[in-house]
């Protein structure tokens, strides 16, 4: 790229600083952020908006994060990002207001669900596309795990819980299926395994 840097640590830092200030880096980062927070194939306008912030602020991550939150496309239903296993695990536990003691078993759970905490594959880290997380066995494990967790939530009303955690995102089909379920636990399982609950 026509640049020369000193040998040693100082040179390395200078190289990183230079790279961080490149337009190509800003575009790459904008695209990765949009893929992670908006959609697997994000709308070009969303990528452009994030890119513009990074370019104008010379790579201010705080500023781009604020712009991300303000993006309409990040919030507009239907949400399309499939929750990765750990996101899904957290969402279920929060929805059921699981007690703090439950954290002890979560390392195992994250492994069972296919995203072992602290063990992301090097060097690329966790994948970020639906197809990477939607393998049949992986989805089946989520469903089975959710059924187990729903047992803890017995006594809760599934429709109330769905409204509390998903609000306007909840689909009428899900509420209908939950209302016809054979038990409170099965109703909760249906809410927790609905397509919209598995999205973010």
């Amino acid at each position: 790229m026509g640049q020369e840097f000193m040998e040693g640590e100082q040179g390395g830092l200078a190289a990183l600083a230079w790279l961080a200030d490149q337009e190509a880096t800003h575009r790459h980062l904008a695209r990765k952020l949009a893929i992670h927070f908006v959609a697997d194939s994000p709308p070009p306008a969303a990528v452009d908006a994030l890119f513009a912030v990074l370019r104008d602020t010379r790579g201010d991550l705080g500023a781009v994060a604020r712009r991300l939150v303000a993006l309409d496309a990040a919030w507009k239903p239907p949400l399309s990002k499939l929750r990765a296993p750990v996101d899904y695990m957290m969402a279920v536990l929060r929805a059921l207001e699981a007690p703090a003691q439950i954290t002890a078993g979560l390392i195992n759970t994250s492994q069972f669900l296919g995203q072992p905490i602290w063990n992301a594959r090097a060097p690329n880290g966790w994948p970020d596309q639906m197809a990477d997380w939607a393998a049949p066995e992986a989805i089946l494990r989520r469903v089975e795990w959710a059924f187990g967790q729903a047992g803890r939530g017995a006594g809760r009303d599934a429709a109330t819980l769905a409204e509390a955690v998903m609000g306007p995102l909840i689909q009428p089909e899900t509420l209908r299926a939950a209302s016809r379920a054979g038990s409170a636990r099965e109703a909760l399982t249906l809410v927790l395994t609905s397509p919209e609950f598995q999205r973010r």
Binding site: L82, M130, A131, A134, A135, P136, E137, A138, I139, L140, V143, E144, W145, F147, G148, Q149, G151, R152, A154, G155, D157, E173, T174, A177, R180, A181, G182, S183, A184, R185, E186, A187, T189, L190, T193, S194, P195, Q198
Partner: protein
């Protein structure tokens, strides 16, 4: 709640199966005083088991016309019912329970219901577990525990098998909770509903279908051939076996409860019930085997929150109803008999012109078990089932 149609229960508990009345309780007399404390297991069938399908009144003149495609061939014919004494027959998947019946260890009751008349699963299950006509904060089985001799230090008198303690066992008395490892399989019917709900999703729909196929879930309603399950009886048998092993221990719990779902068959009932019925049967056989000698002082009450509509609906299923079937199994049980006051299936005999008319209050079964099996004093039975004075304990369940 209208319960005017309930006769004085217990008084009219009739022998329904004439052939079965030849059962010889005396043969078992030697076992009646089996040493050691009594064990009581309650199995909750969540979702509303169709009693008319599991226990078919094949000799009732209105049965075949009313049930049409859900009436199975009579006993002795190919894939026919398993006879229960000439008037009733068990679904062929319940062969283990039938063997217990023939060994005088199974009592089968028909036209049973709780005092509630709600058609909501959630409400009816809460009331079934509360043991009352309104929802209580504790379950009848927990309240019954309070009257038992205190368990050894550090032990609980009651045991809930599963990920959660059902309302039935919640309350003041300490109850342990146990979940065998590796039990994660869902009831096939619930899995079918989850598949339906996700079918419209372009990623999750196909993934779930493939996953379910690979695992060999029995989903006959999806047009797939039934597959051999990895473990006979599936997770319910694992739960039942665990319950039996824990209760067989010398200082094991006196009382345990666990549950089985998959009974809410609004559509394609004949196909959808095969798996749950087989699971229930294999599980109860596994429970008996795991209990070993302790089976002789055990009674198992198998109940559901309500029966289902007497007529078959437009999707070859049945909807939430009232009267249904219940089972009491065990070496301590004076079995080999059908009990209940059969109301008949003529249109005028149906409750609200749609359900089997309930003639036995489900609480009378439980009260009979508390009084005669756990030998609780009257005050304790009344505390377990408050405001049930009009519902006398059903006598004659337990060998004397």
């Amino acid at each position: 709640m209208n319960k005017a149609h309930l006769p004085a229960l217990g008084r009219r508990a009739l022998l329904l199966g004439l052939g079965a009345s030849l059962a010889l309780p005396g043969v078992r007399l030697a076992f009646a005083q089996a040493p050691g404390p009594a064990r009581l297991v309650v199995v909750l069938l969540r979702g509303g088991l169709d009693g008319l399908y599991a226990v078919q009144p094949y000799a009732d003149p209105d049965f075949t016309e009313l049930r049409g495609p859900l009436a199975l061939p009579e006993p002795g014919r190919e894939d026919g019912l398993l006879d229960l004494g000439g008037r009733f027959g068990l679904h062929p998947r319940l062969s283990g329970i039938h063997a217990m019946f023939r060994e005088n260890e199974a009592l089968i009751l028909h036209a049973v219901a709780g005092p509630w008349r709600t058609r909501s699963h959630f409400d009816a299950q809460d009331l079934l577990e509360s043991g009352a006509e309104q929802r209580l904060a504790s379950g009848w089985l927990n309240r019954a525990l309070a009257a038992l001799p205190p368990p050894p230090a550090g032990r609980a008198a009651g045991l809930a098998i599963g990920t959660t303690t059902p309302l039935l066992l919640r309350g003041r008395a300490r109850v342990d909770n146990f979940m065998p490892r590796g039990v994660a399989e869902l009831p096939p019917d619930l899995m079918a509903r989850i598949l339906d709900l996700n079918a419209r999703d372009r990623a999750l729909g196909p993934s779930l279908r493939d996953g379910v196929r690979a695992r060999g879930y029995v989903l006959e309603t999806l047009g797939e051939a039934a597959r051999q399950r990895p473990a006979p009886g599936g997770q319910f048998a694992v739960l039942a076996k665990a319950a039996g092993q824990l209760m067989a221990a010398p200082q094991g719990p006196s009382v345990a409860a666990f549950e089985l779902g998959g009974w809410d068959t609004h559509a394609q009932q004949a196909a959808r019930l095969n798996a749950p019925l087989a699971q229930m049967d294999e599980g109860l056989v596994a429970l008996k085997q795991a209990l070993g000698d302790v089976w002789r002082r055990t009674a198992v009450l198998v109940v559901t929150e309500f029966g289902r509509t007497a007529r078959v609906n437009g999707t070859l299923g049945t909807d939430h109803g009232t009267g249904g079937a219940a089972f009491i199994l065990g070496g301590a049980v004076q079995g080999g008999r059908m009990l209940g006051d059969w109301p008949g299936l003529a249109p005028a005999k149906l409750f609200q012109n749609r359900d089997l008319w309930p003639t036995t209050d489900i609480r009378s079964l439980a009260k009979g078990l508390l009084r005669d099996h756990l030998r609780l004093p009257r005050a304790a039975v009344d505390a377990a089932f408050p405001n049930s004075g009009e519902t006398a304990p059903l006598g004659g369940i337990i060998r004397v």
